[in-house]
Amino acid sequence: MAIPFVEFALSNSPTAAFARYYGLEPSELDAVLRRALACGGDFADIYVEYREGSSLHLEEDLLKETREVVALGAGVRVVVGEQSGYAYTNELSAANLLQAAEVAAQIAAGPSRIEAVNLQAALVPGRYPVRLPATRTDIAEKADFLFAANQATRNEDARIRDVQVTWSDELRFILLANSAGELVSDTQPLVTFSVSVIAESNGERQAGWKNFGKRVGLEAFSRQQAETLAQEAARQAVTLLAARPAPAGELPVVLAAGASGVLLHEAVGHPLEADFNRKKLSVFSGCLGEKVASELCTVVDDATLASLRGSLNVDGEGTIPRASTVLITCGVLRAYLQDRLSARLMKLAPTGNGRRQDYAHIPIPRMTNTYLAAGTNDPEEIIRSVARGIYCKSFTGGQVEPAGGKFTFSMHEAYLIEDGHLTYPIKGATLIGSGVEILNNIVAVGHDLELDLGAWACSKQGQAVPVSVGTPTVKIARMTVGGQRA
């Protein structure tokens, strides 16, 4: 696209572009913050966003449609104790923001405690540098990836029938100003490529898929990568044509390195979000310093990693993550995932995990890139140690209920292990367990930590944000496997 705002934001800065095109000069933002705190309050912030995106979809060998999105808006939040007032608008102007500030201020009922904010611009790190923003690139180039992937699945195996390939990209410019005087802006790229196929043989149909997501520009993706992802999706679908029903009941489970990190995301990640713990809504409430997992477990959330989906230069409320957050060290609970509100109420430091889907939502504690640290076991040894169990390779997702700690995750590609060997693929099934129990049942952790590059999106309270997950090969002594063979 050639929208002047975007051109200007790229060649100057988002802060300068919001000032030039929407009149959001620091002095105006200052006035909005003062208006927000006119009735009192501990803290106020403004989040301004301009997002452009495009997507292309191939299906039945046709490039069926392309799409462009332009979204903009801003929200004003006023925080008083544990209360938040929030208002947003998608007609950006200083006048509309002042009005939003007045509405948000309804949460408070006291005298103003603020005279001037004196905004000072803070520099952010550069964790996702981009040379060729994908949203700025000719659509024909991206279409080429789709056709290449489509062809690659069909070359991989004659049993591949339906193929769908989707590319999507976005570029998000954000500007944050708050009553603590911080003024921060960031440019956040995101690219997603996904391939989904159906293989068919003798009337049996099975799906396979593979996707990819990173905060990168077009220079970091290639036709060859598109083809590799496509081949992997095809291989998976064809493999599953031979899948037999999964067993039902309690069995040892070995998680393959990489995408299995989604289990940690559900079992540990969500229950360690500070809001659940502050409100005593999590099984881990009040457990800081206690042993909550097997000593083989060290769990880390790290927004500082380069270019991953969950990587952040600044979170959704102006906190710049400076280091990784070690949540669990050798089984002992060390930290929660904090946003500003929970950190203040719990008298702990913010960890830069206050994230929001967009301007229409307030920030809440969320994960970024979450993984289980590498152990010392040999991955092959781990499989050999299982007499009868399950080996899980890919997943469709999971869900947790933090209060009771029960969580599920659903396998897509998995195998039966018999006498230390993978014997045959099994049909998808859901695993269920309780977070604390599973953490204590981790009996081996491989040395092969892998961060998955899949396009994971995490959903909480109606807000979806991009995240990454990772794990080395892990053995869980037993878990309930929801197969059909009782």
Partner: protein, 446 residues
């Protein structure tokens, strides 16, 4: 809310035509929301906002491109139109692409009871008060239920405008309010925490369940889980409570919508006019149900809403199609189009005659599923495996609650295995179902 959206739609259609589009379509929506969440008596979040969003499709012959924006400045929009037309040239020629035929008649929005003017009088104080009262009652009914995830009241009203180059012009107003509460209890015997919630949604404020009712149901749902345990892995009859049965309906919708059929991504793709379920199963999608949450005069392509019987006493008689899938499959569009697939209107299982109590009492033993967790439904194969919470029932008597189990089967066998359908249809979302009993599913536990 404004005529100006209608004027903007006309202006964009004219601009698209001038720039060379053969066909074009514009949708605009303006929404206002007011919501409050109260936790332990304190207002956690009070939110108020108005927002606008536009989406458009342009066609060059049989090639299509789309765009959407919340930046409604003319500079941005006219550029989006021009760029969409340029992109349409790059799309593949698709024989079935195009706007639906113009259908001049659709029901008047007034007869559908979509909008309640009482919403205009709603103030923040009342929204907060209702949430606060619901939570207060919820925390007063049982000494073991002492913590709360919060109670929320949310009211949204919106205006939808649609116009296309084949002559379609339509607009309607709608309103939706919801009241919900999430409560936590601690078992006095084993100290385990359990949580659950209840909610009510309605287009009419007066029809919303009362604060007392919402609180009472939430407490009841928490209370019945105290002392839950796993059960042995075996095959048993399974009874789904209406809200969990409704989740099955949402899975089934994905298996009967046109897009899954032409792509053969549904286990029902080749089963039209075949018996796919027991005679107790009749599934309907009804876009005309007065006051229904999915009710609307026309779909997102301007096709008039209708009532479609998808499965009639076990026979799969219709798929739900948008204009594209309809052309492709040689079927009729059913008013479920979204422009790039299908969405449900009010999709429900027609109730039978038995009460939930009679259904539970009719089996020697059964698992009564009260909540489902996670994914685990494969629509291509019909394979089904989900996490579940429930109650173990013997001869109609609840013996103990159950947790940390999965239920699994195959949707085709589950549909064929529906043995009883209750008289207690609950349509509080776009998916609705009464209590149902399925002959047998595999429970995985210990």
């Amino acid at each position: 809310m404004s005529e100006e959206l209608g004027t903007l739609a006309e202006r964009l259609l004219a601009h698209a035509r001038q720039c060379g589009a053969d066909q074009s379509e514009v949708w605009l929506q303006e929404a206002s929301q007011l919501s409050a969440t109260v936790r332990l008596g304190v207002v956690e979040e009070l939110r108020q906002a108005t927002s606008r969003v536009l989406s458009l499709r342009v066609f060059l012959g049989q090639r299509v491109a789309r765009a959407s924006a919340s930046d409604l400045s003319w500079e941005t929009l006219e550029q989006l139109v021009r760029r969409a037309i340029a992109r349409a040239r790059l799309a593949s020629e698709d024989l079935f692409a195009g706007l639906p035929e113009y259908s001049p008649s659709f029901p008047s929005p007034e007869t559908l009871a979509l909008y309640d003017p009482e919403f205009e009088r709603l103030r923040a104080e009342e929204v907060i008060a209702r949430a606060r009262e619901t939570e207060r009652i919820g925390l007063s009914l049982d000494a073991r239920v002492r913590n709360s995830g919060g109670a929320s009241f949310r009211a949204v009203r919106s205006m939808v405008w649609g116009a296309n180059s084949r002559g379609f012009r339509g607009h309607f107003r709608q309103s939706t309010a919801s009241l919900s509460v999430n409560l936590l209890g601690e078992s006095s015997s084993d100290g385990a925490q359990v949580s659950d919630y209840w909610y009510s949604v309605s287009r009419q404020l007066a029809r919303l369940e009362s604060c007392e009712e919402v609180a009472r149901r939430a407490v009841e749902r928490v209370r019945r889980q105290f002392g839950a345990r796993k059960i042995p892995t075996h095959e048993v009859p399974v009874v789904f409570e209406p809200l969990t049965a409704a989740e099955l309906l949402s899975d089934l919708f994905g298996a009967v919508c046109g897009e899954s059929i032409y792509l053969k991504r549904s286990f029902l793709a080749e089963s039209l006019r075949q018996k796919v379920a027991s005679e107790y199963v009749t599934l309907v999608d009804d876009g005309l149900l007065p006051g229904g949450l999915g009710t609307r005069p026309f779909d997102a392509e301007g096709v008039a809403s209708q009532r479609t019987v998808v499965i009639e006493r076990g026979m799969l008689n219709n798929f739900l199609c948008g204009a594209y899938a309809a052309r492709k499959l040689g079927l009729a569009a059913t008013g479920n189009g979204t422009g790039d697939g299908e969405a449900p209107t009010n999709f429900y299982l027609v109730p039978g005659f038995s009460s939930a109590e009679e259904i539970l009492a009719s089996a020697d033993e059964c698992l009564y599923v009260t909540r489902l967790l996670g994914q685990g439904v494969n629509l291509v194969t019909g394979d089904y495996s989900r996490g579940a919470f429930g109650l173990w029932v013997e001869k109609g008597e609840i013996v103990h609650p159950v947790h940390e189990i999965t239920i699994s089967g195959n949707l085709r066998q589950m549909l064929a295995g529906v043995e009883q359908v209750g008289n207690d249809l609950d349509l509080r979302s776009q998916f609705g179902a009464p209590t149902i009993r399925i002959r047998a599913m595999t429970v995985a536990g210990t």
